[in-house]
Symmetry: C2
Subunit: 335 residues, 2 copies
């Protein structure tokens, strides 16, 4: 099967670029020093490639991601880096065939985890992003509460999501260090073996954590590309030109195939004018490779934000050059 035979719109991953990204990261943060975040791809087959590169511990954002990884036999050590109160979902996590650790950041989330029979937790600490996470000074008290409730406290996590895009890199490093001062202080109060933090934007700025929760590095997007990282754009969303009326072209890749939260996706050698539910209207550069495009031609769109883009699709096509070499279900979608 050739790329031109894939029903569009569809996400396509370049196997060579993906493997290069996985190798680069595995060299920088080998084995358990990386805890790949599956929310970036929601695909157990891609997680299996990460495992083949030596990473057997994973980060998840939703109960369904945890259960899907467990069902795929990738449940050696799954961290649900998110707070959950739903008793039914917590009970399913407690029962599943995997080592599951859940983040807690309050009395309510700790009590819910204990009641559902969850065995292990980490204390989620606010290191500057106004989202989940307890105050660093409150982490020790919360860990005590968890232990009294029968939970094993494995350590701490803290996500410095507000720093991923800080430029220049030197300033990002200074700010990450300050955020990690908070996490290290919380860890002193909590104890345990785990100090988990970070993401693709800060993966090489951490020297005091046990593992980094990077996910986007595998496939990449135009947002992270701007940071000049050593990861290649492995993912595009492929579309078919369905109209070529004159000054512009129209392809069948729209708002339902591309996440728009980080602004417009991009098309190499073209200007994307606007996106509709099922269309992109774009103008090819006059002397570029798309200038002679006609109805039926394929076009590749680079997503601005990889995580929510993949979540829109049912399967990921793996290509080498123009050949489709594999099709991977995006099987961790939903909650």
């Amino acid at each position: 099967v050739q790329v031109t035979e894939i029903p569009t719109p569809a996400p396509v991953v370049d196997r060579v670029a993906l493997e290069a990204n996985l190798s680069t990261m595995a060299a920088a943060r080998p084995g358990a020093a990386l805890r790949p975040h599956v929310k970036a791809h929601k695909c157990t087959e891609l997680a299996r490639r990460q495992a083949a590169h030596g990473h057997l511990t994973f980060t998840c954002a939703t109960p369904r991601e945890v259960l899907g990884m467990a069902a795929a036999g990738l449940g050696d050590d799954l961290l649900l880096a998110n707070e959950v109160l739903d008793p039914a979902r917590l009970r399913a996590l407690a029962r599943c065939d995997a080592r599951v650790t859940v983040a807690v950041d309050s009395e309510a989330t700790t009590a819910a985890a204990a009641r559902a029979g969850i065995a292990e937790v980490v204390i989620d600490v606010n290191v500057g992003l106004p989202r989940c996470g307890c105050e660093p000074a409150a982490a020790g008290r919360l860990a005590d509460l968890a232990r009294r409730a029968g939970l094993t406290v494995r350590g701490v996590m803290g996500y410095e999501g507000h720093l991923m895009m800080v430029e220049p890199r030197t300033e990002r490093k200074v700010k990450v260090d300050a955020a990690m001062d908070l996490l290290v202080e919380a860890h002193r109060l909590v104890g345990g073996d785990v100090v988990s933090a970070g993401g693709t934007g800060t993966y090489d700025l951490h020297d005091r954590v046990t593992d980094v929760q990077a996910g986007s590095y595998a496939l990449m997007d135009s947002q992270y590309q701007r940071l000049g990282m050593p990861f290649r754009q492995a993912l595009t969303v492929i579309g078919t030109v369905i109209a070529a009326p004159g000054d512009w072209l129209v392809a069948d890749v729209g708002l339902k195939a591309l996440a728009m939260d980080h602004g417009n996706p991009t098309i190499t050698a073209a200007s994307a004018w606007f996106f509709s539910d099922e269309h992109v209207t774009f103008a090819p550069d006059a002397d570029g490779p798309l200038a002679a495009s006609r109805a039926g031609d394929r076009v590749r769109v680079v997503p601005a934000h990889v995580d929510p883009t993949l979540a829109l699709h049912e399967r990921l096509y793996v290509v080498e050059g123009d050949a489709v070499v594999d099709t991977w279900p995006i099987d961790l979608r939903g909650w």
Copy 2:
């Protein structure tokens, strides 16, 4: 089952508001004068409610929407208001148990339809939106080409999508009239019984078309609400407050549960600070109903754009007050 027992995040439709919207539209454009666009909800059970209000003809944006409507027994007259070149999908449309009409706007799309055995087409005409659609003056020639290829040409369609949000209404009316001058001229050249156009923003501004392709009116979103239309906000996405650390609250409704292409969704009596993959961070108004919210409470988010938001979810919960009275699969997702 109560609303508080729905696993979150989840889209919730207020049955009374939905039925009011369907009644209001059916009074304004009864029966075949409305061709409800299923892309707005991707839900055959909701389409069944539209049929119960007298609309037996529908508009679709993707082959899968057509095939799903046909399989649900709602295939009396399905217009695929979009261009398709994929031979396998066109053949499936030609074979399915429904009356299917496909939009064509070029020699390429016309030839693809004819080759696949499609029986009926409409000529898609550009009425000012730079997307698909042929020039009005070229519509007659394209209709001749289609007829020579053995296709029945039912008439014309033209979507004035660039005018949906024009304010004030008087200016919108003037511009819609000018766009419809183009469509009527194309219809004169093409012939046939169908002149299809419009959407929720212009549903009551058409006096020269046979049917209006409105979809958003059933569920509504914050974008269309700004036009002061007689339709109620029937859809919200419900989340659970998972953290209440102090100045802000965090709920489990993020970028993967809400489309962001029309800006941030809104929360009544609160300010939404930012959305992450699985979270919204928001500040409740000091003296509003959310001021005392705690972990475990439910919160309702109003989508900015209904169509791509529904496409993110597997099912739609129907509620009356606090009771869940039905659950409808969102079964027309994908392509």
